[in-house]
Each structure stands twice: as structure tokens, then as C-alpha cells.
């Protein structure tokens, strides 16, 4: 509990997580993002940038899912043969 304020690399106390581990995770996250994947200049891309882009990307994904589910709900509400078409398409995939 006394090591809470320590800014040293080995932040003792409750958190035993190293900086390198966090950097690795951020790198892995960077690989997922479509915009930062190609330019993998890890020196230039800061962690804040990665996190910001991650937030934006997740919001984009949420919006896409919402949009798709709206379309699906319209589809389900409109026609009765959508069910048959679904089953048929899944079987013949």
C-alpha cells in the first residue's frame, strides 16, 4: 500500500504489472486496428494514439452492428418467407 505512489519501473505493492507487458498489449491492439496496422512504426505511434483509435474503432463497430441489426429487424418484420430463405441459404452454403 505504500508503493502506490512509486513511479519506478517495478511498481511494488498491489500492481505487479511491468511496463513491457503493457507495451506488448498495446502493440497487439495496434495490430488489430485497420489504420495503424500498415504503418507499424512503433516509435511514432504513441499509446494515446492507439487507445484513441481503438475507442473510435469500437464506436464504429457498434454503429455498424446497430445498423445491421436494424436492417435485420426490418427484414424480419416485413416478410414471412424470410425465414424460409434464411434456412435455405444456410443449408446451401
Amino acid at each position: 500500500m505504500s508503493g502506490r505512489r512509486s513511479r519506478s519501473r517495478q511498481s511494488s505493492g498491489t500492481s505487479r504489472i511491468s511496463e513491457d507487458q503493457i507495451n506488448d498489449l498495446i502493440l497487439k491492439l495496434q495490430q488489430l486496428l485497420p489504420e495503424l496496422r500498415d504503418s507499424r512504426r512503433s516509435d511514432k505511434v504513441s499509446a494515446a494514439r492507439v487507445l484513441q483509435d481503438t475507442c473510435n474503432y469500437i464506436r464504429n463497430l457498434h454503429r455498424e452492428v446497430d445498423d445491421l441489426s436494424e436492417r435485420l429487424s426490418e427484414l424480419l418484420a416485413n416478410t414471412d418467407t424470410a425465414q424460409a430463405a434464411l434456412i435455405r441459404s444456410l443449408l446451401t452454403q
Partner: protein, 238 residues
């Protein structure tokens, strides 16, 4: 006796992620058509990274089947008497929740966000039925009986995002907090946990989008049945 062995075979094999009761037809289909692709997934079963799991074709088929089944039930339960009710705003939200729940089930409960999504649905059901429980906003893994003392204890024990000084920059801290709010179930988690959950969550959502797009495109313009077909049943049994 013969019925038991294939069941146990499915349980012991870590690669076949399908449950035994449901989706047996989908596993047959996937096994018949994707036999070659299942082999690489069995090779890296020991260190199957979450990303590869969400990118595999088999996982997408499993999810699509679950989703279609859930949508069918949703449609049956939601059927209004007037057939001319188009552009139902509630319907979109319901479909989104169904899709998220199916995605959480496909995650097999190994990740925080999947458990949070599932517990959210369960909590809502309880709250509607009983109305006795304390409304708890934090979607943690524990039950809805978390009181204030437990949350205080968790703050002292774990280095939450607020306390961790490894990345002491305020900008990074802020963004991580925002991120932890976006990913379900990560509001009071430590920094590496949030990052790890985020990677899995992004991969899962990408698969969700791919699957939903495939379903939509398959339904809106269904491919014509191939010639030389006696009917639908031969394909199913073949």
C-alpha cells in the same frame, strides 16, 4: 452405449466448440465441408489465440447458426397482430441484444465482456420479475448482491485503472477509462485486463459484423438452387 461415445468424443476434443445439445447439424455440416480447415485449428489448440479463433470460418458458422435460431425465436415471440408494422425501433434494439447475447455465448464465457453481457440479460429478467434486488449498475461477474463494502475492498486489493502508475500520463489514463466504458464489463478492471478484453472484444465484433452481413446478403438475394437437385432433402441427408 453407442450414443454415449460420440457425445464424450465431442466433449474431450477441445477444438469442436459446439455444444452437444444444440447445433449438431451445424457441426455435421462444418465437419463435412470444412474437414480440411479443422485440422489447423486442432494443431494450435494448445495455444489457440483468441484472435485466430474469432477469425476462423468454423466459428463464424457456429455463430451464424446460433444467431439465426435466436432470431427465429425472437420473431415468433415478437409477432404483432398487425402485419403492417414496419420500421419497428424496438425491433432493432432487440435484434442487437440477441446478436450480442449470441456472441457472448459463442465466447464460451471465458472473457469478461461475454460474462457481463450475459449477466446483464439475466439481471434484467430478475429485476422485472422480483423488483426486490438492489439495482446494481456495475456489470461485474458477481451476483447482484454486491454491496458497497465489496466494491471498496476490490479497490484496495486491485490496482484499478485509477491507481495504476505505470503509465502515469493523464491522457493515457483518460483514454483507458473511456475505453473501459466502451467494452462491457471492464469498468473497474486493471489496465492490462482492459487491454486484453479489448483485443478479444474487437475480434469478436468483427466476426459478428461479418456473420450478420453474410446473413443479410444471403437473404436479400438468395442464390438460385443449383441444377441437378432432386429437392432440398437430398442435400440435407447427403
Amino acid at each position: 452405449m453407442e450414443s454415449i461415445s460420440p457425445v464424450s468424443n465431442q466433449i474431450t476434443q477441445p477444438t469442436t466448440t459446439t455444444t452437444t445439445t444444440t447445433t449438431t447439424s451445424s457441426s455435421d455440416r462444418s465437419r463435412r465441408k470444412r474437414r480440411k480447415k479443422s485440422q489447423p485449428s486442432s494443431v494450435d489448440s494448445s495455444q489457440s489465440t483468441s484472435l485466430e479463433k474469432w477469425r476462423s470460418e468454423k466459428q463464424q458458422q457456429i455463430y451464424s447458426t446460433k444467431l439465426v435460431r435466436a432470431l427465429r425465436e425472437l420473431r415468433i415471440s415478437q409477432q404483432p397482430t398487425s402485419s403492417s408494422s414496419s420500421s419497428n425501433p424496438r425491433g432493432g434494439r432487440a435484434v442487437r441484444e440477441v446478436a450480442d447475447r449470441a456472441l457472448a455465448v459463442a465466447a464460451r464465457g471465458k472473457t469478461l465482456w461475454s460474462r457481463a453481457i450475459l449477466s446483464k440479460a439475466v439481471k434484467l429478467k430478475f429485476r422485472k420479475q422480483k423488483r426486490q434486488r438492489i439495482p446494481n449498475p456495475s456489470p461485474t461477474k458477481t451476483t447482484t448482491l454486491t454491496t458497497g463494502s465489496i466494491s471498496i475492498r476490490s479497490k484496495k486489493q486491485r490496482a484499478t485503472v485509477l491507481r495504476l502508475k505505470a503509465k502515469g500520463l493523464p491522457a493515457v489514463q483518460r483514454k483507458v477509462k473511456v475505453l473501459s466504458r466502451l467494452v462491457p464489463g471492464c469498468r473497474k478492471q486493471t489496465l492490462p485486463v482492459v487491454l486484453e478484453e479489448t483485443t478479444d472484444y474487437i475480434a469478436a465484433m468483427e466476426m459478428q459484423i461479418r456473420a450478420m452481413t453474410a446473413i443479410l446478403s444471403a437473404v436479400t438475394s438468395p442464390p438460385p438452387p443449383p441444377p441437378g437437385h432432386d429437392g432440398g432433402h437430398t442435400h440435407m441427408l447427403g
